[in-house]
């Protein structure tokens, strides 16, 4: 793991009218790190991520992704990141091959590169039997693996995963995380939002967002020690209780 910071965020804020969705958050992510961005639904995770991937303009604060500014260089950011959303997002009515070709194409990969990539994917994921099947006919676990592979197609420096494992069984989730480790080993930085706290244990470092603020950020092990908790879920509940006295 190098010490270069590929994501730098300083006091980043997003307001919708009077509502502070993201309240002056600051953090850094190192190259090759698996960074877990945790929080309950509505805590502001997705809003913060949207600012980093260039589809939402920050209200104030500073941020750079892969060395590019989120205000002025969103086009360059987009070329250098991959993205997989919480909604499953390949075309159901296209085959696996057609989907890969399409998404490779919009990232400007040449035909020969795409063919090469398909070959590698078929070998790695054992896709021989399904490469020419319609995506709609595949089980959800497969779709998610494919979706992740597609987001890595153009060898991005950073890949943003927004709740990537929603709705799948624990075994498939485990397999999915193996793919994430594999990508991280090759030097890709992983920025992943989730509200599965067991999943968060797999991350190198996590931040926990509550009501638009980052309330805690460290290695999972150190957080557990600090909050004297046996797992991250307890850490999370403590933080949520403190900010929401009911």
């Amino acid at each position: 793991m190098s010490e270069e910071n590929v994501i730098k965020v300083v006091e980043l804020t997003k307001k919708f009218g009077a509502f502070l969705a993201v309240d002056a958050i600051s953090f850094e992510v190192k190259a090759g790190e698996i960074f877990g961005f945790l929080g309950a639904n509505g805590a502001g995770k997705t809003t913060a991520m949207k600012m980093l991937i260039g589809i939402s303009k920050p209200s104030s604060g500073e941020a750079s992704v892969a060395g590019f500014d989120v205000y002025t260089q969103t086009e360059l950011i987009k070329k250098n990141i991959g993205y997989m959303s919480q909604k499953f997002a390949l075309y159901d009515d296209l085959t696996v091959r057609e989907n890969i070709t399409f998404f490779g194409g919009i990232y400007g990969l040449s035909r020969s590169t795409i063919k090469e990539k398909i070959k590698v994917l078929v070998a790695d994921l054992k896709l021989e039997n399904i490469i020419d099947q319609l995506v709609g006919a595949l089980p959800l676990g497969w779709k998610q693996k494919l979706s992740f592979s597609v987001s890595l197609l153009h060898d991005p420096k950073i890949v943003f995963l927004d709740e990537p494992t929603g709705g799948v069984d624990p075994i498939t989730r485990r397999q999915f995380w193996e793919m994430i480790y594999h990508a991280a080993d090759k030097g890709t930085t992983i920025f992943v939002t989730t509200h599965y706290m067991d999943e968060a244990e797999y991350c190198d470092r996590v931040s926990i967002m509550v009501n638009g603020k980052i309330e805690a950020m460290d290695r999972p092990k150190r957080l557990k020690e600090q909050y004297e908790a046996s797992n991250l879920n307890e850490v999370f509940l403590q933080l949520a209780r403190n900010s929401n006295p009911e």
């Binding site: 589809i55 939402s56 070329k79 990141i81 997002a89 390949l90 075309y91």
Partner: protein, 368 residues
Amino acid sequence: MKRFIGFVRKEFYHIYRDKRSLFILFGMPIAQILLFGFAITNEINKVEIAILDHAKDATTIEIIHKMASSKYFSINRYLDAESQVEGVFKQGKIKAVINFEKDFGEKLIKEGQSTIQVIADATDPNTANSITNYIQAIIQQYNQSINNNQAGSSQVFMQTHMAFNPEIKSVFMFVPGVMTIILMLVSAMMTSISITREKELGTMEILLVSPLKPFQVVLGKVVPYILLSIINAIIIVLLSIFIFKMPVQGSLILLGLESVLFIITSLSLGILISTIAETQQTAMMISLMGLMLPVILLSGFIFPISSMPLPLQLISNTIPAKWFIIIIKGIMLKGVGIAFIWKETAILIGMTLFFMGVSIYKYKIRLE
């Protein structure tokens, strides 16, 4: 029971808070009743006519006065020669020309009969028919009045001529209308549905995070529909020429260019709808209710605009289809060139720019 009432109350909250369904619940019936009550009538009202009076004697002036004082007609201008007739029809405002033969009054007294020729613009057969019926009634009244006052049996006869569409084939009216509806459907509805489909699936987000620029995404979505619509337009024109024997009097190239313009207008409307609608269902509802009904009822396709009450006439001006129907009727049936339809063309271009502008504005707000 209490639980049930609570449930019903909740249901009312849903309806009350969803302004869209509230609009459909109450807006639709009101709109329908008003439309069917007012627009859908074959009565005519202040139709603009022109007079070609070769006699200019006391009798013709009396008959012209009767027409002018009825609420059905308003006299737009007086012509001097037959050669002007085609020109005024091509401009499109005047729906009929009343032609009095030479020595009209003299003949009526001496020979006991004289003839009025009514030339109606039959590109809209319904209106043309109504106009001739009303004029016939006025002439009959006149005949009765002269025969009561003075003994004798003088008669004014009426001769009709249906310009541009002598057999008053209604297919001539339906072809432009159907062409308009189909282009509108394919272009506006299909684009709005296909764009909202990407939104629903979540693929739109992926596309927006990709290096593709938003306008490239939208352009990529609409280009296939432009091509499909052009093919559709060609098929309709070929069908009307070869199956319905409908002549295309004007330039095919101009017809093609105007059709492409209208396709682009519809597409930009489709894009606008997709910026408002979040789901495919909503997009379809807006397209059907917001586009199809007005096109069918208010574009002049079935019911003559000139007979509608003023508010509906004003609303009809905001419907792109109305202007396109005027344009294609002009080109196909009257054989007019751009000089006669530049105004309608400019209106369509203006509408297109407006729809695109609003879409871009709405998109920017979403980014903020």
